[in-house]
């Protein structure tokens, strides 16, 4: 019921597809732009960027299908962009401008589009996703419900109520855990006794740990597991060991410098920059340019209108 990737790349090397690099960088620049806009006082409220974790939804991209439901959380921009490549709609949502996915009502944390839904209350979405999975099983066999949560969210009782029911009733549920070692300011060890793997297994739920950020390898590993979620309606917890490179939200990073340095070191962005500097530079410039244009376009739009209350 348990499997793990080797943390280092062994065996055949995976090529990073242009498409994937493009989306990775789209997300990266989207997030950076948000932090800049915040600093410039252009944005209100709060936002949680996924800097360092962009590869998780990018890796899952071809493994998920349009009829799958995706449940996202507070740190969801990458999840959304990997699914819809719609920086305009998302930025408009965050800035409250015309063309916003949810007319500016939901903002960064509350997005609904087709079969994609996020909420700002941690843990709440797991039982909901379980219900959706049970529904899909009847009306859309082969489709699954995927729900993203962080390591800290394993503090919520709702997680266990949901895992229990998902396993009892064979829900095609995929729980993607972005284990970045921290919840807001609290290191995982200070908020979690035991392990995520142990907790999944305790409910009879299959668990797989992904210790690499190599997108091709991740897909190879996950493809057969996701097949079982779909075909056998067998719930699955996939735990990504990942790194939060940025602050929790806007500049609130109280981690010791050493920890931040380590996170940065493991950042795919840095690694790719070293591995293939020229290709990176070209794609990076393109993404930066694109997001910059999006930001200017969206900023120039009139405020969003909310009619269908």
């Amino acid at each position: 019921m348990e499997s793990v990737t080797a943390p280092t790349t062994r065996g055949r090397a995976y090529e990073l597809a242009d498409e994937d690099l493009r989306i990775l960088l789209l997300i990266r620049h989207f997030e950076r732009t948000l932090l800049e806009l915040f600093e410039q006082g252009e944005l209100n409220g709060t936002t949680h960027t996924c800097l360092g974790q962009e590869y998780v939804p990018v890796a899952l991209r071809p493994l998920l299908r349009p009829r799958d439901f995706v449940f996202s959380n507070h740190r969801g921009h990458g999840h959304y962009l990997a699914r819809y490549e719609d920086p305009h709609g998302l930025l408009a949502e965050i800035m409250g401008r015309e063309g916003a996915v949810c007319n500016g009502v939901g903002g960064s944390q509350h997005i609904l589009r087709d079969r994609y839904l996020s909420t700002g209350v941690q843990g709440q979405s797991l039982p909901v996703a379980t219900g959706v999975a049970l529904g899909l099983k009847k009306t859309d066999p082969g489709a699954l419900a995927c729900v993203y949560i962080g390591d800290g969210t394993w503090g919520e009782g709702a997680v266990y109520e949901a895992l229990n029911m998902a396993q009892l009733w064979n829900a095609p549920l995929l729980v993607v855990v972005e284990h970045n070692g921290i919840a807001q300011s609290t290191p995982t060890a200070a908020q979690m006794a035991g392990t995520i793997g142990g907790r999944a297994r305790a409910f009879g739920v299959r668990h797989h740990r992904v210790a690499t950020s190599d997108i091709g390898r991740i897909r190879d590993e996950l493809a057969p597991l996701l097949r079982d979620v779909r075909d056998q309606c067998r719930p699955l917890v996939v735990e990504f060991l990942t790194n939060r490179v940025g602050p929790h939200s806007k500049g609130d990073d109280s981690r010791p410098p050493e920890v931040i340095r380590l996170a940065r070191e493991q950042d795919w962005y840095r690694r790719y920059g070293e591995e293939f500097p020229e290709r990176m530079a070209a794609f990076d410039a393109e993404a930066r340019e694109l997001v910059g244009r999006v930001a200017r376009e969206v900023a120039a739009r009139p405020p969003s209108v909310w009619e269908d209350r």
Binding site: V101, L112, V128, A129, L134, G135, L136, K138, A158, E161
Partner: protein
């Protein structure tokens, strides 16, 4: 027909008429059929659509919301309504919010059934009426069963709105008979107003001294109070029993209310931020200057519901609590 049976039939019909309807709850499957037997027979007829769940009130509400989101209208039975407290987040902050917080209306056909109320000696954590805690959440409607409202009409109407709702069900009422054919007893008749509110009257719905407004769980006590007041005090009461508690529209009741010498809203549960307070406020605002006195609210005593019968009686709203309140009101 007993109210429990009527509700059971309503559930069966909901399952028959829509093959997507699901029901979830603890011990709801046959042969047990739920702690109050309201779901009897359902799991035998529709085994795929009845989920007898673990003890996970919050989780169940969430799963049901998920089913609803995926197009399967879902009904939840919370074994004792008190435990809806465990599902407060899912009901108020997910289901209730999601219908509007994404910037457009979202369909979410979800009904959370809450067996409520005291009078059966179940004690402080199994006897509450938590209606008031759920009042005033945009997108979340509150209903209550009554002996006047056929649940075979009410339930499809609730589900048809495709919005999250709570359905409160008085546990003592389960054991009573439904009223039919406009007859309450030898003395009282009833009809349903166009707005859905039941009205119980003596001979003529337009002739009365006082108006008593109560949710369905208090219907028998209110009618008994009306009887006593008639016999002992020659005060005639019109008893109004709405099926939907929230949002509450006082408009169609104003003609009757404006003629009342006194208006009393009685409800189970303690005072403070109640449904009755909400009704009273609407009446005060709409009929200001035309009311002879303020609306009287009747509640349970300001404490927990004790277990022992003799203590429970001291605390609960009884027929006598209502008659006493109306007498006092009229003597002001």
């Amino acid at each position: 027909m007993r109210v429990a049976e009527n509700l059971n039939l309503a559930l069966h019909q909901a399952f028959e008429s829509d093959p997507a309807v699901h029901l979830l709850g603890e011990d709801v499957a046959d042969p047990y059929g739920g702690a109050f037997k309201i779901t009897k027979g359902l799991s035998s007829r529709f085994p795929d659509r009845v989920l007898s769940t673990p003890l996970s009130e919050g989780g169940i509400a969430g799963v049901a919301a998920g089913l609803a989101l995926a197009g399967h209208p879902a009904i939840v039975e919370i074994m004792f309504g008190d435990f809806a407290a465990l599902a407060f987040d899912q009901i108020v902050n997910f289901a209730g919010k999601s219908v509007s917080m994404y910037g457009r209306r979202l369909a979410l056909p979800l009904v959370v059934r809450c067996p409520s109320g005291a009078g059966r000696g179940y004690g402080p954590t199994h006897s509450q009426s938590l209606q008031k805690h759920f009042v005033g959440v945009p997108g979340l409607s509150l209903y209550e069963i009554s002996p006047f409202h056929d649940n075979r009409v009410l339930l499809p109407r609730i589900l048809g709105r495709a919005e999250p709702a709570l359905l409160f069900e008085d546990k003592v009422l389960y054991t009573r008979q439904m009223f039919g054919d406009g007859i309450v007893d030898g003395v009282f008749s009833f009809d349903l107003m166009e707005c859905g509110t039941a009205r119980v009257f003596l001979d003529d719905p337009d002739t009365f001294d006082c108006v008593l407004i109560v949710p369905g769980g208090l219907a028998h006590r209110a009618v008994a109070a009306a009887r006593t007041l008639m016999l002992e005090d020659e005060i005639s009461c019109l008893v109004l029993v709405p099926a939907r508690l929230y949002p509450f529209d006082v408009e169609p009741l104003l003609p009757a209310l404006s003629r009342a010498a006194a208006i009393c809203v009685a409800e189970d549960g303690t005072a403070g931020g109640t449904w009755g307070g909400e009704v009273a406020h609407q009446i005060h605002r709409r009929l200001w200057g035309r009311l002879r006195r303020p609306v009287t609210l009747v509640h349970a005593a300001d404490t927990v519901i004790p277990t022992a019968v003799h203590l429970e009686e001291q605390v609960m709203v009884r027929e006598g609590t209502i008659t006493a309140a109306l007498r006092e009101t009229l003597s002001d």
